[in-house]
């Protein structure tokens, strides 16, 4: 016999409660592990998309908008000290036609000497000008074998290439989701860049100083060209994920906080139940420290087990999240890399949080004089709630509110705001839970003074008798309410705004493209502009077109939406600043319309000037207006097509927007035939909307699922508390039953307790939730630029309140049954 036996037996004694605590830890940690793994996978996918196709050079030289520049620049850079090799490249995206539809593929054009760096696993290396190499994953998924013909759409038109070989698998190529390598001459043909290239890769010598080489290269470059690390071009794509990243991080934080409060509540109940037992240990000679360690050991054991299970569950959850993100982004994500940091974090957080949550109850339990628990007159006496929790709560709440005010009105940078949002949310949530007794204990006292029926009086008395237990349970429900209201409101507002935005901006009847791009438009295959004429010949009333071009404004990576604007149709922009006539006039005169996110980020308004890095060098453009834009995470600007042609030289068109004449029913069939013949992707407006709505529904479904999970965890806390309350009341119930109380009345006493627990957290939960929703909307507007006015979503609030009450009643059923079925004789004479 050693004391571990005691610990293990005690843990086995209450399997339900231990399971609840264990699940709390597992859910919290799984959320953290999954979020981190998913975000790092997505981040890596975008970074490797460029590093992968570039073969991991140290620096790259590119022009804004992926436009081309003279290939002879390479020879001028070879002499630069520290540059080991200077390699001409063409990078772009093409639509690879396959039996199951076209897919967007990154294409890398390399010179003949550089082709040797791409060893083949099967087939032949690049030799002929029309040869192409494919990644094994991509080739397998499209059932392609060396020697087969490949049909691709590129800016210069449709081409047939020969698949000469399959590349060796490499982590980099896998991360890019599959790539195609061709000779430089072939790429020049595909991308319509005769004698030109659109990228130079610079490999550094081992002893070279990257900063010095960077400076030396920058000095030699003509106006309009930029030197940067290759992963830089992924910055814009990654910035589009900020909202998703913030949402996931906030939800994982909430799951973790909920878990912490559940653990705290469980240990409070557990140690309170074991007071007598702990007193016996003390009377047998166990010191305070020994008792403290004994109890903390249980928490640590649970934490360790929870961390293990949380890590495993986190990996499975990450697989699901990766799948969702893949669907959401329209990008093939690389296989998940199980980096050590999320697991180390979970391994530290699991036992750490569990021990931290158990620390206070364990400390109290170990300090309680043993005699107090051994004497029968103290058996059911609950101590008054100490002041320090609500004092700490108030302090944290004040800090959180100050943080919220700073976020909403303070002049902070975007980065700082982003970093501050999660800590502020955490402060408000923790502070709110700890300060909750300030609201509901007076409410309980008020209720106790009302002429309630017997069931109500007993329920109020029981809750008031154990303020610590009641506070924490209400706290977990409060947490669930705040999260559901705050995030639900923010989510629904964003969805409404998104719907409004795409109804306003996607007005064409049909869309024609080479293949579906990813959601950040990083991998968008371009088509020749000349296709517009052919589409018009199909009977279209108007054909507009858009190109998505990466560019730089000041030092910020942005997405330029270069498009035509038909004069006889409404302006397809969700304008925020400026009216339609002046904006249209401005765009035709070479001005820009900034996305609200970008405008907010740069602090610019209509009439200001913005510095765009163009192929001719920096160019100051007047802002004709601002418009809500979600592409590029809001960091986007609109240019009229002809202006863009002059400034950024777009490689081609990414989407053709085809409008039909009123009442013309034949255009759809004609376009269908045209696209089928040319292996192009045709989407009707309805198809695209249902695609977007399906994607949004999946995202919102996943978020609602997580919120219901938060309520489920909170309900488990209610079950826990009610079970303990029923246990404490058994004798009182037995006496009441002996005096003639009916089973239904006993059941009502328990259910009323549950309803009170939920009901008392409703008002503060709704208030705090609405406040936090406001803060989230205002703070996130800083980077999404969404100017939607804040509106209280009453349907959501009523729904969430109903859900909370319903869950509380459900949680009361099992404890109520236990109370009804008690043996009166046994309860009176245990």
């Amino acid at each position: 016999m050693n004391l571990w036996v005691y610990n293990l037996r005690e843990m086995q004694r209450r399997p339900g409660r231990m399971l609840l605590t264990f699940l709390g830890i597992v859910v919290g940690l799984a959320a953290i592990v999954a979020t981190r793994l998913t975000l790092s996978t997505v981040d890596r996918a975008y970074r490797d998309l460029f590093e992968g196709v570039a073969g991991k050079p140290a620096l790259e030289i590119v022009a804004p908008g992926q436009s081309g520049f003279a290939a002879d620049l390479v020879s001028g850079l070879e002499h630069i000290r520290g540059a080991q090799a200077v390699l001409p490249r063409i990078q772009g995206a093409a639509a690879l036609v396959s039996a199951s539809g076209s897919v967007a593929v990154p294409v890398l054009g390399v010179d003949r000497t550089g082709a040797a760096d791409w060893p083949v696993r099967e087939g032949q290396p690049l030799a002929r000008e029309d040869d192409a190499l494919l990644d094994p994953g991509l080739a397998n998924s499209l059932h392609l074998r060396p020697g087969q013909s490949l049909e691709i759409w590129a800016p210069a038109g449709s081409f047939h290439l020969r698949l000469s070989g399959i590349l060796q698998p490499s982590p980099v190529s896998a991360a890019a989701g599959g790539q195609m390598i061709v000779l430089l001459a072939c790429a020049q043909r595909l991308f319509n860049l005769p004698q030109r290239i659109n990228s130079i890769q610079v490999l550094l010598a081992e002893d070279a100083d990257p900063a010095a080489v960077h400076t030396a290269i920058a000095r030699c470059l003509p106006a309009g060209l930029m030197v940067q690390p290759p992963g830089m071009r992924g910055t814009l794509a990654r910035s589009t994920l900020l909202s998703a990243e913030q949402g996931l991080s906030a939800l994982s934080l909430v799951a973790f906080l909920a878990a912490t409060f559940v653990i705290l509540n469980t240990f409070l109940l557990n140690f309170s139940e074991r007071r007598k037992q702990i007193a016996v240990l003390r009377s047998l000679g166990a010191s305070q420290r020994q008792v403290l360690y004994l109890l903390l050991r249980e928490a640590l054991l649970l934490g360790l087990a929870g961390a293990g299970a949380g890590c495993i569950s986190g990996v499975f959850l990450a697989v699901g999240l990766n799948y969702l993100m893949q669907k959401f982004l329209g990008l093939t994500l690389p296989s998940m890399k199980l980096s050590t940091s999320p697991f180390v974090l979970a391994a530290l957080l699991g036992p750490g949080v569990s021990a931290a949550a158990a620390c206070l109850p364990a400390w109290h339990a170990s300090r309680r004089p043993p005699l107090r628990e051994l004497l029968p007159q103290w058996a059911h006496r609950e101590e008054a709630l100490p002041c320090w929790p609500w004092q700490t709560g108030l302090f944290l709440l004040v800090l959180g509110i100050v943080g919220e005010i700073v976020l909403v009105v303070g002049g902070l940078s975007d980065t700082l705001r982003r970093h501050l949002l999660i800590p502020v949310v955490a402060l408000l949530l923790v502070g709110g839970v700890l300060a909750l007794p300030l609201v509901f204990l007076p409410c309980l006292r008020l209720l106790g003074a009302l002429p309630l029926r017997l069931e109500g009086r007993f329920a109020v008395q029981q809750l008031a008798r154990y303020p610590g237990r009641t506070s924490l349970t209400s706290g977990v429900l409060f947490l669930a309410l705040v999260v559901a209201i705050a995030f639900g409101q923010a989510l629904r507002a964003t969805l409404r705004d998104l719907q409004h935005w795409y109804r306003q901006t996607i007005v064409a009847d049909f869309l024609v493209r080479g293949a579906m791009p990813d959601s950040s438009f990083t991998l968008a295959p371009a088509l020749p502009e000349s296709l517009a004429e052919e589409l018009r010949r199909s009977g279209a009333a108007a054909v507009d077109y858009i190109a998505f071009l990466p560019a730089e404004v000041e030092t910020q990576q942005v997405l330029v939406l270069a498009r035509t604007f038909a004069a006889d149709r409404p302006l397809p922009l969700d304008l925020h600043e400026g009216d339609e006539t002046s904006v249209r006039r401005g765009l035709l005169a070479g001005e820009v319309v900034l996305g609200t996110g970008l405008a907010q980020h740069l602090g610019l308004h209509r009439g200001d000037r913005v510095n765009l890095n163009t192929t001719q060098g920096p160019c100051k453009l007047r802002i004709a207006g601002t418009a809500v834009e979600y592409a590029g995470g809001g960091l986007a600007l609109y240019l009229e097509w002809e202006t863009a042609r002059k400034l950024l030289d777009p490689p081609g068109v990414h989407v053709f927007l085809v409008s039909k004449r009123t009442g013309d029913a034949s255009l759809g069939a004609a376009l269908h035939a045209f696209c089928a013949q040319h292996h192009l992707l045709l989407q009707s407006n309805a198809d695209l909307r249902s695609l977007i709505e399906g994607m949004l529904n999946r995202v919102s479904g996943a978020l609602w699922g997580l919120m219901i999970l938060a309520f489920a965890v909170a309900s488990l806390g209610v079950v826990n508390t009610l079970t303990r309350n029923v246990h404490d009341q058994l004798r009182a119930f037995a006496v009441l039953r002996a005096l003639g109380l009916r089973g239904g009345q006993v059941c009502r006493i328990v259910v009323v307790q549950a309803l009170l627990l939920a009901g008392l957290s409703l008002a503060p939960g709704v208030l705090a939730g609405a406040g936090m929703a406001y803060a989230i909307q205002r703070a996130s507007a800083a980077w999404t630029g969404s100017p939607a006015p804040f509106q209280i979503d009453f349907r959501l609030i009523f729904g969430v309140c109903g859900l909370a009450m319903g869950m509380a009643v459900l949680a009361a059923l099992a404890p109520a049954r236990q109370a009804v079925r008690l043996s009166v004789a046994q309860a009176i004479h245990p």
Partner: protein
């Protein structure tokens, strides 16, 4: 005094303040010698349990000193008193206070585990102690699988396993029927006689108290009789003195006096006194005959 295991001088314990102030003990002087079996009796509220708790180091006196093996408990802090209990004091409770998740053997081994004994050693010593109280065959049973008497024997084994200087028993037969209570008392008596275990027992049962070497009567926080061993000085054989019978009867009479609540309560004093007095008399007579 060389033989004294415990010396308490001027023990005073006060609870509460102002009008709620209650003086539970008022200047108790008590000495327990090695191998002595002392019973503490008195009506409810007389301070019996308070005295036991002070002697066990579960509480601190308001004034006075308690020397156990030469160490003054009154000046020790909570943890130091716990250490002292771990090494020198065995405790038995009226409601046994066994941990119901542990088996009988594990319960007995618990104080050893707390003291840092190896698991093997603790189990071996616990098994031996269970054998000594006649429960070797019930080692692997949990408390709820044992009768009340068996549970109290496990509690006794748990108290003895550390080989304490002083064994304190708080109404050890209070929750047992008379047969089981007698068995426990026999065990305790044997213990005192065979091992020279010092034992202080709080009881309401005059019959069981009569098996002690000395009875200490408490009333209103004071020792009203027995400090000098009116019932007889402890002997090697643990037999009672000649005046045991009248004292026992007197005690029962006092119990009645203290317990009877004022009229119009329908308490039947005779019905209460008779069995207790009969038990005390019978036992005292048997003890005299044995002597």
């Amino acid at each position: 005094m060389d033989n004294a295991v415990l010396v308490a001088v001027g023990l005073t314990k006060t609870y509460g303040t102002g009008t709620a102030r209650v003086e539970a003990l008022r200047g108790i002087d008590l000495t327990l010698h090695r191998g002595e079996f002392v019973a503490v009796m008195g009506p409810s509220g007389s301070g019996k349990s308070s005295l036991l708790h002070l002697l066990a180091g579960l509480d601190r006196p308001t004034a006075g000193s308690i020397h156990l093996g030469g160490v003054d408990l009154a000046v020790l802090d909570e943890d130091q008193r716990a250490l002292l209990r771990r090494r020198h004091i065995g405790l038995m409770f009226q409601s046994f206070q066994l941990l119901d998740t542990l088996t009988a053997e594990e319960n007995v081994a618990l104080p050893l585990a707390i003291a840092g004994c190896s698991a093997d050693d603790a189990s071996r010593r616990a098994a031996r102690m269970l054998g000594a109280v006649g429960l070797a065959h019930r080692r692997q049973h949990r408390p709820h699988e044992l009768s009340g008497g068996e549970q109290q024997r496990v509690a006794l084994a748990r108290a003895l396993v550390i080989e304490p200087l002083l064994l304190l028993a708080d109404e050890p037969t209070g929750n047992l029927d008379s047969v089981q209570g007698d068995k426990i008392m026999t065990l305790l008596r044997q213990l005192v006689e065979e091992r020279r275990q010092t034992l202080l027992m709080v009881t309401h049962d005059a019959g069981h108290a009569a098996r002690a070497d000395r009875i200490v009567y408490l009333r209103d926080g004071r020792i009203v009789d027995g400090q000098r061993g009116n019932i007889g000085v402890p002997s090697k054989t643990g037999s009672r003195g000649a005046d045991a019978t009248p004292l026992a009867v007197r005690y029962v009479a006092e119990c009645v006096e203290w317990s009877v609540v004022p009229p119009p309560c329908s308490f039947n004093a005779v019905a209460f006194v008779a069995p207790c007095a009969r038990d005390a008399l019978e036992y005292a007579t048997e003890a005299e005959e044995a002597a």
